[in-house]
Each structure stands twice: as C-alpha cells, then as structure tokens.
Assembly symmetry: C2
Homo-oligomer: 418 residues x 2
C-alpha cells in the first residue's frame, strides 16, 4: 500500500502570537510515525473561519488523514465544532453518552452545570464521536472521499487521552503503511561538521532509501538514520547495520545508543553500575534534579539534592567553609569541591555533582569570576574532580546549557573519560 | 497602512516525526506581534525540495513576510541555502566577512577548520547576509515583488541572535502596521465555562475590534483581550477599560494581571512583602525550585531547597520523624508538615512549601495513599497548613500539575485565602 500522508492543523490565535508553544503537533507526529504514517505538513492557523476552511480545503487535497486540534471549548472563541459541522454538511445534536459524561464531571468536581456546558454535549450528526475521558469536549471523526478528518481539543492531556483510547487503535486497524525505521545515536563533545567529516564515506555509500540527519544542540549532535521500504522485511537489520558502522567510527564520542534524554543516559549508567547519586545545585536551581527525576525509577539511584541558592545554605547544609567563600567567592573551584563532597557525605551517595556559577550577564558583587562562568565538581569514592565551564547566552538558556554540561561531566567522570 | 501578514515556515524532518518540539515559531511570533505584525500561518515541512518549494510558492502569494528556519547546517541533509539560491535565481559566492567569522569560531574552540566549513561562508549573491554572532550559518534576506523572505538556522540560540541583532531592527524601521494591543489576566480555581458565564454580558457588549480568548490549562484559565485599530490612539485605554470590567467581576479568582508565569507571580508577591521562601520537594524532584529560579532576581527572596527524594534524606536533612514515616507513610499529612517546618527552620525563611506524593500510576509499597495523591504543606511564622491534592495523568504531566498546584497553594496561603 502506498504511503499514508497525514497533515496536522493546530487552531488558535495563541499559537500565532507566540503565547503558546505547540507541543501537540510533535506528540501526534511521534505517535503516527510509529505506525508508519508520514506527517508531511504541520500548519497552525488562527481562530477564524476563513483560515481554518482554507487549510482544510488544501489539506483534503494533499493528505489522507487530517488531524485538527483546538477550538472545541465552551466559549465564544471556540469555533471549530460548528465550522466542521457545516463544512461536512451535518447538524448539531445532543449526544446522550457525552451529556452524561459532562454532567458527571461537573458533579465530581462539585461545580454547577451551566447551560453553555450543554453545548459541550452537542455533536455533528455526521461524525463519529471520539470519547474524551479527560474532559468535556468530545473528539470527532469525519470521513469524506476515503479521507479522514479527526478533530480534538487543544488541551494537551485531553488530546492525548483521545488519541490513546480512540484514534490510535482505529488507525492501527485501518492503515498499513510503508515500513519505516528510525534509529538515533547521540554524540557529545564535537561539532556537526567534524562528525560529518568523520563519516563522510559511510554517508556517501548509503542507499537512497536510507537517510542520515544531523540534529545539533548544546554540545551534542544526534545522528538519525531513517529507512523506508515497501515492507518491513530486512529493513530494520539494514538500518542497524549502517548505524553500526557509524557507531564504530565515532566510538570515542558516542554517549548513547537511541534517542534518549541525557537524564536517562545517566539513569541507565547508574542502574547498570548499581551506584547512587546526589546533587548540590546553586545556579541551576534544582533543574538537574528535576531532569534526573523525570526518569521513571529514579528513586533506585537518586537520593536527592540540596539547592543551595544562597551562601548561607552552602555553609549550613553542605558544610562549605565560610572563610573559603569569603576568600574565593561562591563561584570557585574550592566551593564547587566542598559542595560536591558535602552533599555526597550528607546524603551518603556514591557520586555527587555540584554546580555553582553566574548565569546572568551582570557581574555579581563579591565574585571574582566573570558572568557566564560555571564551576562544577564531581565527588566519587576515591577522588573529586572540578572543572570550569563557560556559558554564553541569557539566564534561561544558560541554565539549560549548564545542566547538560553538568550531566555530561558526570557521565565522563563515571566512565573514567575525564 | 494595511496589516502586514507574516508566515513562518519551519524546515526539518525532526519536526514531522515528533523528535523536536518547535519552539522557534512561538518565539518569532511573539517578537513580530510586539511590532504589530500578524503571523497568519505557521507551517512545518520536511527536508525535501518539493515541500519547501511548494510552501514558499504558497506563502509568497498569501503573505508579505516569510520567515524560514532550519536546513542551513554544513551537512548533506541541509538543503535550504542552495534551494533558496536557485529559487531566487542567484549563485553561491564566498562572503569574506562570514568566512573570517567562521574561521574565528573554529580557532577559538580549538577545532580543525574543514573544507565543508568553507561552505558555511558561501551565500547567494542575490541576498542580504544577516550576520550570525552565535554560529557559523549566516541568515539570509531575499526580496521579491516587495515581499521579504528571511532564512535563519534552526538552532534556537542562533535564530534568536540573528533576529535580535539584524531582523527586528530592520523590521522596526521598514514596517508600520496596524496597532495591536494584548492584555491578559490569569484566573485560578474555576473552569473555563464558569468564567465565561460570569462575564457573559461583558463579552457580548464588546465591540468587534476587541476579541476575548480563553486559554485554559491545569487549574488556571488565562483571559486575553486583543484590540486592533488603524492607529494606536486610544486603543490601549479602550482595551484596558474592558479588562478592568472583567477583573472587577472576577476579583475573587484573579491571581495575576498580565501574562506572567506563576513563578513570577510568587516572586512579585514575595518581593512586595519582603519575605523569603524555601522548599522541600519530594515527588516534584526540584521542579518547583527550578521554576522559582527561572525568575531573574530570585536570590532576593529564594533561599534554597532540599530535594528529599529518598526517605533517609527527609529524616537526615529535614528532621522528619522516622517513626511518623513508618506509621503514616512518606506521603502523609504529618510528613508534609514536618518537611515544611523542617526546611523553614533549616534555611531560616519566612515561608516554606513542602510537597510529597505519588506521581506514578502504580501503588508504592509502604504508602497508604493511592497513586496520584499529593500532600502539601506551607509553613509560615504563625501556622502551618497542609492539604491533600489529586493528580490524574502520567508521571511527567503529574509533576507539572503538582508544581502549579503547589505554587497556587503557597500563593493562597501568603494572601490569606486558604
């Protein structure tokens, strides 16, 4: 069967004035991709009839499956439902199952059921209702000339719930697309062009149905191979074989096999070595701790941490010498070392990472180091290693950047690559 | 002058398989919006000539300004530059300024300058080069029939740097668009439909050039008013007047004036009251601390926190009674209270928030509470208040959700609204 082409249309003025970052599209695309369904385009339009209708017209020409999110709420700016109803020539009728569900939600939350909530239970009589277990606005499936249009609310949890319970099972049953295989590795410490140069001959030798992509970001470059074929057959083995060649060539800089977050890389490493970790964060303010605990099962290796934002916390909770802070500044090698060793001792972990630095662009009174300077240390059983790093952007980006550097530093320490 | 219409085209297979969330579009849209330039559409296409060309053809018909990001790197999957060069009928030539800059970057980072990096300095001879201070790929500006096409790298920091230093100043000088005014308030504790019902008469009375939008998420509803007019004149005053009416009507549930993050709301409140905060986080793993420290100047009121991920950390660093943990579980009222009071004492802050809960869907051995249960406490000078909350989703979404709830709980405590 030929490739299925899907388009995603997200609806909402908030997407066009930059008030909301569109996370729905990426999530939907990822799910479709695992079914071998190609998303060929993503479009965001505002809450207005003309733009939504034009996008629908165009995508019904280009694509087989069209996903819409947004504009299904109970308020006046939500115009998607009546628009779709008219577009496909239906009329709105109360759906009893949805009505019961909506009333239930209001009862459970102890909120009055309003006349306008009745409207949430109205659905076009020419669509299949996609039940929304997480909210009041049902999803809708319209079909026309063998094409499917699926409309869902824009609230991410509700959209995800409808996709998981209704849409994905239906797609799995109805579509069999070309086989598609992705495989990704992550490298750290070298730039995109250096990596490309190293594997140039491998890349040139690859067949046209296998494509290599470079995804650079913050000291890391992801390499993704994508293979496509009429049927799965040996496709996975073929893609894996090419990736194997790349991995061998880049052995020194590969930090992960698979498209996984750095916190998962750290988690896997600690689990595998049966070691524990604690953190002492100043400038990153708990962000590394947050990332580490995003991983399910983190309690197997992560003991906890101290966010020593103010100097007194470094002294009182981590036992950093007040004199050393006074003499060297809080952003210094000795303070980083004492923070790491202090938290390691307090929390009795095998490893501890500390980080102290100046993320803002202004100099900090009492600090000798320039803005953008970060001191980190990792303490282990036998030794503690400290290093100085630089970050170049604004506060928020520097925090992200420093956190990735910190995890990479820890990774190298544990792997004896420092 | 008539409204300027802008389109954003983001390029990259990673956007269509869900590997990358598109944050660039929202950022660009926000910047343009402040200049009164309407983004009417956002499109994401893959790394292929046909789809990029079609998107360009279409947007050159629809829009006045077209922003492209992505596909400018030094590797084979980066096809935007030669494509644009051909599209606008130019040829690639070495740009000396860019070449010097690229060589500089490689020297500074102590990396070999490769033949393929030379290509980074090639630019179409029919474009204006937009200097990239943060990376090797320059931005490009093409003009055709009075329309402008601006191409930038997809790496967010590089795109932002080019926008800030080259593009936005140029737009400010060249365009004068219709006046546009946004104003946003944030409400918490009531659903979208309840809020809409409360202000129905105000909404109905608003003139057509002022539009009200509801943006619900996680226990909060943002209300945004957008006014448009040929010239600024009294537009701001008019929009503010309508918002004033809404604010008065919703006085009980308005938590912020302006579209600001909850961590900023907390920050403003603490600054204004000249009080300090500390945190004891278990299940949220440092996420609230991360959010609080995203705000510039957080060191004026945030002392720090303890991420007591394992039970022993609750006991050792926060002084929670081991017996109480054994008897009641770590997710319990008494532990939440002892965590808040413990961290408040240890870090000598005016307020302390604690949070302990079960984010995953599986029951935890030794805990009496069900999965999805969160206990929080706020300790102040005179009293400590604890509350039980429920979250309903998966681990990552529950962490986000619990953190927002935590900040709202703290906000209510400080404002005596509990």
């Amino acid at each position: 069967m030929a490739n299925i082409r899907a388009s995603i249309i997200t609806i909402g003025d908030e997407l066009l004035i930059g008030q909301t970052i569109d996370t729905n599209s990426a999530w939907i695309a990822k799910q479709l991709n695992t079914l071998g369904i190609d998303v060929t385009k993503r479009i965001a339009v505002g809450d207005n009839e003309k733009d939504i209708t034009e996008a629908l017209n165009r995508e019904l020409t280009d694509a087989d499956l069209i996903f819409l999110t947004g504009g299904l709420g109970p308020t006046a700016d939500d115009i998607t439902k009546p628009l779709l109803c008219r577009y496909f020539g239906g009329k709105l009728v109360i759906n009893e199952q949805v009505l019961t569900h909506v009333k239930d939600i209001f009862t459970k939350r102890n909120r009055p059921f309003l006349e306008r909530n009745m409207k949430q239970a109205e659905v076009p009589d020419n669509c299949t209702v996609l039940f929304n277990p997480m909210g009041t606005a049902p999803g809708m499936l319209f079909e026309k000339n063998g094409k499917k249009v699926i409309s869902m609310p824009g609230v991410p949890f509700e959209m995800m719930a409808i996709m998981e319970t209704a849409v994905l099972p239906m797609l799995k049953e109805n579509y069999q697309s070309d086989a598609i295989e992705h495989t990704t590795i992550i490298t750290a410490g070298e730039g995109e062009s250096f990596v490309a140069e190293k594997i140039q001959d491998i890349e040139s030798a690859m067949p046209p149905h296998i494509k290599l992509a470079y995804l650079p970001n913050l000291g890391m470059v992801k390499l993704r191979l994508t293979g496509k074929a009429k049927d799965a057959g040996s496709l996975k083995a073929e893609v894996d074989l090419w990736m194997q060649q790349i991995k061998e060539r880049l052995a020194n800089i590969v930090v992960a096999d698979g498209d996984i977050a750095f916190e998962q890389i750290i988690g896997n490493l600690l689990q595998q070595k049966d070691k524990t970790l604690s953190l002492a964060e100043s400038c990153t303010g708990g962000y590394i701790s947050h990332l580490i605990t995003q991983v399910s099962g983190a309690s197997n290796y992560y003991k906890g941490g101290v966010v020593s934002y103010l100097i007194e916390v470094k002294e009182n909770l981590l036992g950093v010498s007040a004199e050393d802070i006074a003499n060297n500044g809080a952003v210094s090698e000795t303070v980083a070392i004492q923070m790491a060793e202090g938290v390691r001792k307090q929390l009795q972990s095998d490893y501890a990472l500390s980080i102290t630095g100046i993320l803002d662009k202004q100099p900090v009174p009492g600090e000798n180091e320039e803005p953008g300077t970060i001191w980190m240390a990792v303490a282990g059983t036998d030794k503690t290693v400290a290093r100085k790093f630089k970050v170049y952007y604004d506060r928020v980006r520097n925090k992200e950047s420093a956190s990735i550097m910190g995890m990479l530093f820890l990774w190298k320490f544990i792997n004896d690559k420092l």
